[in-house]
């Protein structure tokens, strides 16, 4: 089951192979996501080259509403490079991406504004972290 159409673009940026593996896992669960891309950043990459890759991917995913950028760690290089494009690109960045956030990102109500989408993803990610035994003892 896929829900693609003219969906808001989703760009995952993370250290090493994490972004691509997250995208692979997302597609394993949801089916193909042509409106999602992954970028791996590592220390072998020149900062200008890394920034150019991010800008190119944002442009490729751009819609009138903008692009959702999901990064792995606030303050890390992937987040910082995404932040450096904030003044020139219509994006919202959610840092600390996890699998619940990613799946929710491709299931969001397209009637929401980009900002509302980002806020919904932040809240969804937080709300889907459990101490598993609390869940089964009703303390969820």
């Amino acid at each position: 089951m896929t829900e693609t159409g003219s969906r808001t673009g989703v760009l995952i940026i993370a250290h090493g192979a994490l972004a691509q593996e997250m995208l692979n896992t997302l597609e394993f669960i949801t089916g193909p996501q042509p409106r999602a891309r992954a970028i791996a950043l590592d220390h072998a990459l020149d900062v200008d080259r890394a920034r150019a890759m991010v800008v190119e991917a944002i442009d490729a995913l751009m819609t009138p509403k903008g692009v959702l950028v999901l990064t792995d760690l606030f303050g890390g290089a992937p987040s910082n490079i995404a932040l450096s494009t904030l003044d020139e690109k219509n994006i919202e960045i959610v840092a600390g991406v996890n699998l619940p956030i990613l799946i929710h990102a491709v299931s969001l109500d397209e009637a929401l504004s980009l900002r509302a989408m980002a806020e919904a993803l932040r809240d969804y990610g937080r709300n889907n972290i459990f101490r598993a035994s609390d869940f089964f003892s009703g303390k969820k």
Binding site: M1, T2, E3, F28, I29, T30, P100, I103, H104, S107, Y124, N127, N128, F135, K140
Partner: protein
């Protein structure tokens, strides 16, 4: 005219039960209908349009659950969901 209510018992026959892929598929299909759809298992209830709520039911293979649909397209919704579940969510055995 008051909305009709469709209530059905279904058994999960796929290999992994209501796991990530099957929960996503069920929620995505449920969202394509206007009807309010709930899945109940034991005393726990989930909005069928929300994957996280479906996952929280922890429905194992072979378990029975109850589908309830209320709304303008409740019969079509229930039939589509039953078909998806009967197809084992398209999973290979």
């Amino acid at each position: 005219m008051p909305a009709k209510l469709v209530k059905l018992q279904v058994t999960l026959t796929n290999k992994w039960g209501l796991h990530a892929r099957s929960s996503y598929a069920l929620a995505a299909l449920a969202r394509s209908f206007s009807a309010a759809i709930t899945v109940t298992r034991g005393g726990a209830r989930a909005d069928a349009k929300k994957m996280d709520e479906l996952l929280a039911l922890a429905v194992e293979p072979g378990a029975q659950m109850e589908l309830t649909a209320v709304g303008p397209d409740e019969e079509r919704a229930a039939a589509a969901l039953v078909e998806l579940i009967a197809s084992k969510f398209g999973e290979k055995e």
